[in-house]
Structure formats: structure tokens, C-alpha cells
């Protein structure tokens, strides 16, 4: 039915319609005409219609962007609130600021949380250092080992390459929670759970997904460069370190930033594998303080301040490298 109506010539339609149209439909026709829709025989305007759709698109996109951004704004605003009550009442900006506290400055809760952490036997800078160790050492060493494997998978021919490739690929299927208990038992036998090694050593052997991503990138690199280097007498290590590593830098950097963010935010790993509070990373301290003092009248905004402190480095890193990160994720999507 709809097809038949669409195929009807517009001129005939207009001639019939104009006789019977009552003022309401005439007004409707004019109204729709402004937005480029030709109904009841009026001519449609493609340019106006595109503007109309664009405006609706922008309204929806901005609405969702607001939903995505607002919680972060709320978080930052809440960390400047005077106490729990004024924090929870915050919609855009707290009604009572921390400056109204006795001896309070604008950043009162940011200094207060350091005091609270000290009382709980945590040193803020030590905790940050732990987090940095957990998210830099395994990521850097792991990137080198992953790129080595990626280079071998993409550009070298050796016996059993396909077998090794699928052997590693199949490991992705093993869900983390299924093996974490066994991993914990081994790490605690090795005494890695008391000194943070459980968060460092496993990452140093490279990540499978990282290796596969870099391998995809290396496929697009011409093999002739490697051949030329070989003829000029470069050894395999030289080829890897001097040619492959620099050329694959865009992919390596993207994966590195993503893994850094992942390690910084990692909560489940240290929750299971780190048994000594001296070696706690930021995520664990935030969650522990939140359960302990997160609902206290005075310290609730301080916990919020610590949550902001845990969030900020990642947000800054994302803001700086957003092009690389988004690009690499989009690339993963288009590979499917």
C-alpha cells in the first residue's frame, strides 16, 4: 500500500488536496514546509530537511554526551563540598563549600584524605608509587616481549609457527576468574603475594591480545625492509630493535597506553593477589576507605576526593592520547 502512495505523481495529489484541505492541515503543511517536508502536496526541500535532521541528531548526541560527562562533573564538584549532607545535595555546585569548615581551604578534602590515609597506615605517595610500579614495569617489559612475538608471527618463518599461534590464541578463551584461584595459590607458595611481585612478573611475559594487535599492524609493513636489512648484514635482533620496533611504534604506543590505563584501573587483580597492605595500589585503598569511612559525615567528600585523584591521571592521559586510543580501537573494530 505504502509503495502505491509513494509512486503517485505529486502534481495530481496536490490538485486534489488543495480543494479539501481545512485550515488546520494547511497550517500543518506550512509548518512542515519550514523543515523541508512536503506533505499534502507541498514541495519538499532537501537542504532544509537535512538541517532539520542534523539538529535532531545534535540534540540526541548532546543529551547522551551530557549523561556521559555529568557524573564526572558531579564527582569533582562533590569533592569540594563541606560535608556529606551538602555533598549529597549537590546538583551542579555544592551549596556549602569546604572553605566553610574550620580551617578549611578550597582543597580541604584533598589534604584531609592524606591525613586519613596516614591514620589508616597508608602513605599516599607510597600507594601512588605502588600503582605506578604495577602499571609501568609490566607494561613496558610486556610490550617488548609482545612485540617480539608479534614480529616472529608476522615476519619470520619457523617450524611450528601456526601451532604456537593457535596455542596462544586459544588461551584467550580461558576466563580469568576460573584460573585466578590457582594462580593465587601458586603465587602465595612463591611468596609473591607479600611483595607485589604477583602484579609485576606475570605481565612481563607479554599479553596475547597486544601481540595479536601489533601482529596485524606488522602485516601491513613491507617485508622488503627486513630483507634489505638482512642483506646489509643485520642480525635478527638488530632488525627487531632497529627497524621493527621504531616502525611499529604507533601500534605499540596505542597498546601501551591502553594497557597502562588497564593496569592503573585494575581492581580485581590486586584484590586477590596482593595480601600485604604495604603493597596496595590506589584502587584497593579507595575501595577500602569507601567501605570504612565513605558514609561518615565529615569524611565522605574526602573519599570522593581520593576517587577523583585515582581518576585524574587516567583522564589526563586519555585526553592527551585520545587520537591514538580511539584510532586503535576503531582499527580493532574494522578488522572484524
Amino acid at each position: 500500500m505504502t509503495e502505491v502512495i509513494n509512486e503517485m505523481p505529486p502534481v495530481e495529489n496536490a490538485g486534489e488536496g488543495q480543494k479539501e484541505l481545512n485550515p488546520f492541515f494547511k497550517a500543518l503543511r506550512t509548518f512542515c514546509g519550514w523543515f523541508g517536508f512536503g506533505i499534502f502536496g507541498a514541495t519538499s526541500n532537501k537542504r532544509r530537511r537535512k538541517v532539520f535532521y542534523d539538529v535532531i541528531t545534535y540534540i540526541i548526541l548532546v543529551f547522551f554526551a551530557f549523561i556521559m560527562i555529568y557524573p564526572f562533573w558531579w564527582m569533582i564538584a562533590a569533592s569540594f563540598a563541606r560535608n556529606r549532607a551538602s555533598m549529597l545535595d549537590t546538583v551542579w555546585w555544592p551549596s556549602e563549600l569546604a572553605t566553610e569548615n574550620r580551617g578549611g581551604t578550597f582543597f580541604y578534602h584533598y589534604t584531609n584524605i592524606m591525613r586519613i590515609m596516614e591514620n589508616n597506615n597508608f602513605d599516599y605517595w607510597r600507594v601512588v608509587l605502588n600503582t605506578l610500579i604495577y602499571s609501568i614495569v609490566p607494561v613496558v617489559i610486556g610490550l617488548i616481549t609482545s612485540t617480539m612475538a608479534a614480529f616472529a608471527f608476522a615476519k619470520l618463518n619457523f617450524k611450528g609457527k601456526n601451532f604456537v599461534f593457535f596455542y596462544c590464541l586459544a588461551a584467550i578463551m580461558v576466563p580469568g576468574p576460573s584460573i585466578m584461584i590457582a594462580q593465587f595459590c601458586v603465587y602465595s607458595e612463591l611468596n609473591w603475594t607479600m611483595n607485589g611481585l604477583s602484579m609485576i612478573i606475570p605481565g612481563c611475559f607479554g599479553a596475547i591480545m597486544t601481540a595479536f594487535f601489533i601482529r596485524q599492524f606488522l602485516f601491513s609493513m613491507p617485508t622488503s625492509i627486513i630483507e634489505a636489512a638482512k642483506i646489509d648484514g643485520a642480525g635478527y635482533w638488530r632488525i627487531f630493535w632497529g627497524f621493527v620496533m621504531p616502525l611499529a611504534m604507533p601500534a605499540v604506543m596505542a597498546q601501551g597506553i591502553l594497557s597502562f590505563i588497564g593496569c592503573w584501573n585494575n581492581y580485581l587483580g590486586p584484590l586477590i593477589f596482593v595480601r600485604s597492605s604495604e603493597w596496595y595500589p590506589l584502587a584497593l585503598v579507595v575501595s577500602q576507605l569507601n567501605t570504612e569511612i565513605g558514609t561518615n559525615v565529615d569524611s565522605a567528600p574526602s573519599v570522593m576526593a581520593l576517587a577523583v585523584l585515582a581518576l585524574l591521571p587516567v583522564l589526563v592521559l586519555f585526553a592527551v592520547f585520545q587520537k591514538t586510543i580511539i584510532g586503535s580501537i576503531m582499527l580493532t573494530g574494522s578488522k572484524e
Binding site: N6, F72, M148, L156, N157, V174, I208, I326
Partner: protein, 338 residues
């Protein structure tokens, strides 16, 4: 230098082979040998890591589930592995599927956790209702972003911010926003985190959907960029409207991306743990009420109680469930193609 001469020697000897009778001893091609050795050297770290930290742990997990190892065993892990569970090797698997209560509802102590097992599994499935909602939303947003409008890149970045944000910080925020006195609760007039078990689950679903939206929007945007535009033009000339073009031309080409998103989010959804644990805290211990506990919450709950053998057994069951779910999804996808 070495390899170069090796190659020359090699070609020389091959010519010699064709010209004269074949030599009795097969010469090892030195450049091929070098490439083999270096290839193995380059992959060895990843292979050792995968073997030690994934496959070995998996085997150990299965093995541990047959023992009675716990933190009160008083022996080392290696010692405990030598002794199979005195109640029979499959004791913990039987334990999982034995009833917890008698017919009249009185608790049987130490016989099983059947009810808990199925409740937590159902909870994990309920937490996954965010997946279809999130997929539909992100598809909608990705289609809007694929119109040639200015600032699409900025929107993509904004939508991805929650994904990179620390889950712990977000949980602290959610606790305050959705807590009993929070802004959202006063806005909607219903209790979320302080409300019924269902509303508590809804809070988690809102959080995971909000946090995961950016990733699937990006993947779908990439997928939409890859959709062949010439089909669209052809269809437009043939008089198809936008709605029809979307369902008949864009969707079939986008399906692999959507399917990939669904499979990965189902695998991730079965493993949900951090979000509910951070929002409810102490609810997740194995013996307490399991109204909102996801399946993985039980694994870590028994781990927290020190019953490593039972939590390993539950982990093995989880791996099997996820494997079967993935198989089912691929089977459904195959049927769709045929």
C-alpha cells in the same frame, strides 16, 4: 655477513646437487636454522607466559578441584595436590548440585549449595540484560554519528571517557548518586541501592551499560565506516527509503561487528564481579544472602573463606558454562546464515 655467505654456500651446494649425485649427508641450511632459532627465541616469552600463567593455572585449577585444599589444610599446595579429596574426587562437584535445604525448608548443614548455585547463576544472567539495551543504544548512537556532521570525533571521545575511568572511582560515585539520599533517588523518587534486590541489580546494570557504551559505539562506528557505500547509492536510486536501506543493506554488512560485540559482552557479562562487589561490599561472602551475588561472586566468596578447592571447582564450572555459551552463540549465527 654470516647469513649472506650461508646463502651463497647453500645455492652453490644446490647446484652441485643437481649436477652431481646427491650427497649422503643432508646439510642443514644455516640461514633457515638461524631463522628457526630466532623465531623461537622471539616467541618464547609469550609462549612461556601463556603456558605458565594460563594453561598451567587451568590444569592446576582442575586438579585442585579434585583435592580438599584450603587455607586451613596446614600443608603446602604441592603437598596437598598429592592427596585426592578423601570424600571422593568429584566431591565438590557433587556438593555444588546437592540440595541445601530439605523439602520442608530446613537447612542441611554441609551437604550442598545447589540453591545458591542456581540463584547466583540466574543473577549473572540478569546482570546481562544490560547487553541488548546497550547494543541497541550504541547502534543508534553509531548510526547518528555516521551522518556527516561536524564534531563526530569529539562525541566519540566523550562517549569513551566512562570506559577508561577507574571502576573503583565510578563505584564510589555511584554509591553516592544512587544511595538513599543521592541526587538520582530524589529525582526519580524510587530507591536504587537501598531498595529491593531487583532495584539494586538495576543500579549495577545502569552502571555497566553506561560504562560500556563507549566501546561498542566505537566498534560499531568502525563497522559502519566499513559498510560499502555503493550499495546505498544503488538502493537509493532504486527508490528504497532510509529505513529499508538500514535494515536490508547496512545491517547485514554490520552484523559481524554486532556479533563480535555481543559475544565479547556475554563472555564479559558472565564474569561480572567488580561492579556489584564494589557497590554492595559485604553482600558477596559465600554464606550471606546471595540475592544480588553474581556467579563469580561465589567463587571469590569461597576463596575469601579459604576453601580453595571449592572455588576452583566453581571456576572450572564457570569456564565450561562460558565455553558452552560461546558455542551456542556461534551455532545460532551459523543457522542465521543458512
Amino acid at each position: 655477513m654470516e647469513e649472506q655467505t650461508a646463502v651463497q654456500e647453500n645455492t652453490g651446494s644446490r647446484q652441485a646437487e643437481t649436477a652431481f649425485e646427491p650427497p649422503k649427508k643432508r646439510r642443514i641450511n644455516r640461514s633457515v636454522l638461524a631463522e628457526n632459532l630466532w623465531g623461537w627465541f622471539f616467541v618464547c616469552f609469550l609462549v612461556i607466559g601463556t603456558t605458565a600463567f594460563i594453561y598451567f593455572a587451568l590444569v592446576l585449577s582442575v586438579w585442585m578441584s579434585f583435592t580438599n585444599y584450603s587455607n586451613s589444610s596446614g600443608t603446602t599446595l604441592w603437598e596437598a595436590l598429592k592427596h585426592i579429596n578423601p570424600n571422593g574426587w568429584g566431591y565438590w562437584y557433587k556438593f555444588m548440585f546437592s540440595p541445601e535445604y530439605t523439602a520442608d525448608g530446613t537447612a542441611l548443614s554441609g551437604t550442598g549449595i545447589n540453591e545458591r548455585f542456581w540463584t547466583t547463576l540466574l543473577n549473572a544472567v540478569i546482570y546481562m540484560i544490560g547487553i541488548p539495551i546497550g547494543m541497541a543504544l550504541s547502534l543508534f548512537l553509531a548510526v547518528l554519528l555516521s551522518r556527516d556532521i561536524k564534531g563526530a570525533g569529539a562525541f566519540r571521545v566523550i562517549y569513551y571517557i566512562p570506559t577508561v575511568a577507574s571502576v573503583v572511582s565510578i563505584a564510589v560515585l555511584w554509591n553516592n548518586l544512587f544511595g538513599n539520599e543521592g541526587v538520582i533517588v530524589e529525582l526519580f523518587g524510587t530507591r536504587f541501592l537501598g531498595g529491593s534486590a531487583f532495584m539494586q541489580k538495576v543500579t549495577v546494570v545502569i552502571m555497566t551499560t553506561w560504562k560500556g557504551l563507549g566501546g561498542s559505539v566505537l566498534l560499531l562506528c568502525a563497522g559502519l565506516n566499513g559498510v560499502n557505500a555503493s550499495y546505498h547509492e544503488a538502493a537509493q536510486i532504486d527508490g528504497a527509503n532510509a529505513w529499508r536501506i538500514f535494515w536490508r543493506i547496512t545491517m547485514p554488512q554490520l552484523w559481524p561487528t554486532i556479533f563480535y560485540c555481543i559475544v565479547t559482552s556475554v563472555i564479559g557479562g558472565m564474569q561480572i564481579f567488580s561492579e556489584p562487589q564494589l557497590l554492595y561490599g559485604s553482600y558477596l561472602v559465600g554464606d550471606a544472602s546471595v540475592d544480588v551475588t553474581p556467579f563469580v561472586g561465589m567463587i571469590y566468596g569461597y576463596y575469601g573463606q579459604g576453601n580453595y578447592a571449592l572455588s576452583s571447582a566453581l571456576g572450572v564450572v564457570l569456564a565450561v558454562i562460558i565455553f558452552l555459551l560461546t558455542l551456542v552463540q556461534f551455532a545460532l549465527d551459523k543457522r542465521r546464515d543458512a
